[in-house]
Symmetry: C2
Subunit: 457 residues, 2 copies
Amino acid sequence: MAEHNVTLEITLKLLLDEKKYSTLKDILVTMNPANIAGVFEEIEPEKTPLLFRLLPKELAAETFVEMQPELQEHLIKGFSDSELREVVQELYIDDAADLVEEMPANVVKRILAQADPQMRKEINEILRYPENSAGSIMTTEYVSLRPQMTVDEAIKRIRRTGIDKETIYTCYVTEGRKLLGFVTVKDLLLTNEDESLIEDIMDKNVICVNTMEDQESVAHKLSKYNFLALPVVDNDNRMVGIITFDDAMDVLEDEVTEDIELMAGMMPSEKTYLRSNVFDVFKQRIPWLMLLMVSATFTGMIITGFEDALAATVVLTAFIPMLMDTGGNSGSQASVTIIRAISLGELEFSDLPKVIWKEIRTAALCGSALSLACFAKLMLVDRIIFHNSSVTLSVAAVVCATMVLTVVVAKIIGCSLPMVAKRIGFDPAVMASPFITTIVDAVSLLVYFLIAQAILI
Amino acid sequence: MAEHNVTLEITLKLLLDEKKYSTLKDILVTMNPANIAGVFEEIEPEKTPLLFRLLPKELAAETFVEMQPELQEHLIKGFSDSELREVVQELYIDDAADLVEEMPANVVKRILAQADPQMRKEINEILRYPENSAGSIMTTEYVSLRPQMTVDEAIKRIRRTGIDKETIYTCYVTEGRKLLGFVTVKDLLLTNEDESLIEDIMDKNVICVNTMEDQESVAHKLSKYNFLALPVVDNDNRMVGIITFDDAMDVLEDEVTEDIELMAGMMPSEKTYLRSNVFDVFKQRIPWLMLLMVSATFTGMIITGFEDALAATVVLTAFIPMLMDTGGNSGSQASVTIIRAISLGELEFSDLPKVIWKEIRTAALCGSALSLACFAKLMLVDRIIFHNSSVTLSVAAVVCATMVLTVVVAKIIGCSLPMVAKRIGFDPAVMASPFITTIVDAVSLLVYFLIAQAILI
């Protein structure tokens, strides 16, 4: 597939160099908008306006939506007002709103000037909603039906008004903008009674979302119920728009990327990896690295504090990496599991005691297994095979006891922090591996030296 | 929303205790299958068959599909053959295949006995495909049209045969099972020429997937092109089924959970957190903990190897946690970024040099910023404020030089290993934080002591 695209790209580039525009057009119209946009990203920017003008109006708009913001901006700057108008008029409202959000102010001004007043009003309505809310990703173009219509009238209405709607397959039954129910085109087509009233065949059990609901929760809801689209209502329960499955899928992918970035101690970025320059990547990564470096110096202070204990038994130093890593890994296993369960809507704050109890028992099992293995290794490998006399039974006892305690503490911290973060309104993903590793490091060293002092000194 | 559900659950439980079956039925039929399944999971298992029998046939099957496997098994064991038959006959083929895959052998035997021969054949066909392949998640029920049909005939065919199809909105045009193109119901409804031939209005640029293609790649493709469904073809290019957006969304969620689990050093699990018992969680977590603990002992051996250097300048020990953590964090930032980019299809193995070059420059920036901050802290805080005379200029130089080198090495290892893993056929997510932390720990300590030996001793 990838190779096939590459060959096609080369062909298209050659045709463009040779100015074979009619052949180019013949090829482009057979292609999918997402793939055409891919070709645009690869050719020299100064040739893109030329190529774009070859596309028929509708395909041009569909391709435009699939492009990266930089290229969109470049193209708009080359458009005449009437060219811009043609593209803008073809856009769905939600795509137009996305575009307005991403372009610099002077470009936005030109875009809004080319939209008709109704469209401008609807774009502005969507832009009023806070980022990441249902309102900000909805489209205001949906098919609405009246309860007293017959099936036949409803189908006629869809055929008449459907062309500009993002989806016609789920139609919403409203009266004075109040949402009463929905019918699918499948219901309409498969019913054998064309004279039935919509209110008699509609599904009155509507799952809807509020304009202010978080986009991730909307996407999970859509996925849970397997709906093509979810209606969005305002606080007075009036229908204002819909969110379609394709936008929900994009939200899921973006939110997951954001969660994963946060979990690995990075600031979320809007740009993909290859499109970010080195300085973008640096800005994304340095804040957490800096913060975590500073916190790790406290761990260093613990070591300094117990310098006497260390000087007495230097062998203890050799086990620091193992204890720190095992603690860190145990903690991140717990935190990542909990963060994912929260984001899938499986866990609420009220589950905290249940979660802690499960983690304690798991930690007891893991800790015991690890410390048994560790004890066997110390006794058999270090003492018997390598004759390392400094690994005494007491040292082994200190290491193994620390291991169990560290795992238990790590799992408790790992599972609680994300739930607490969620409770007080932070993104739980922030409380992931790097952060928890730092805390667990300090705790495990403290436990280690305290036990060492008690047993060895 | 959640609270609302809880109240409803209590009401339903009370009604069930009081044997108010007709009221219960009235309530259940207004509800969504996913929500009814949620109620079933909460009530005592012995009462579920009773409640299930209240549901009308179609709703019963839809609810059954949404249940967890344990409950499905429990219900099937209580079904008479004719009850089981009613449910099985109502299932879509892909759901029936999922069910057969998840039930124990004796239950499978009963299920297949109740499916009619055609269904049994189709279930078996789906089960032939390897796990996680497109073939294994497709459904064989789709609307197919002939190229010579008129729009009017096509709509009639959809109305006649659509009832059993998972989606009617995208129809596939085939001839002798060869896939020629597709038309959407939107195209059919919005065209004004009922006598047009399907072959004239169909879209011939079909994006399709092979039966053996990985399910994750299929899901990303569907999301990229915003399709409701993708057709699945065999090696001879004959159409064998479709994959719908709702199944693709489930795949995306599952694959992401699996990636996240692998990244945190856990074996992927099919069960959700709350449904796993402590021993499940233990089995999921202990293998990596054990492996990583063993590898961390090598890091310990490095410390032991440099015991003399350490004994000479004990102050070096205090910086071990900071250097190890910063290295680990830098490495996991790089690895997690790359793993995500690979899974989104942004990076190929051939991008490796480009990626390494970008990571080296980023690491140089991050490393310099971190070591400047660290140097300032050592000189100002440790020396001037705390008068810690053991933090000499040479010690600071050793720590800061190690910092830069560690970050660079960590970023290079972090970005290369996932790409190499992918290349040799492993899941890149395995090469994430815990694994890379362990390698980077060892490398950073080695660098640390070598530099220390060169400068200090």
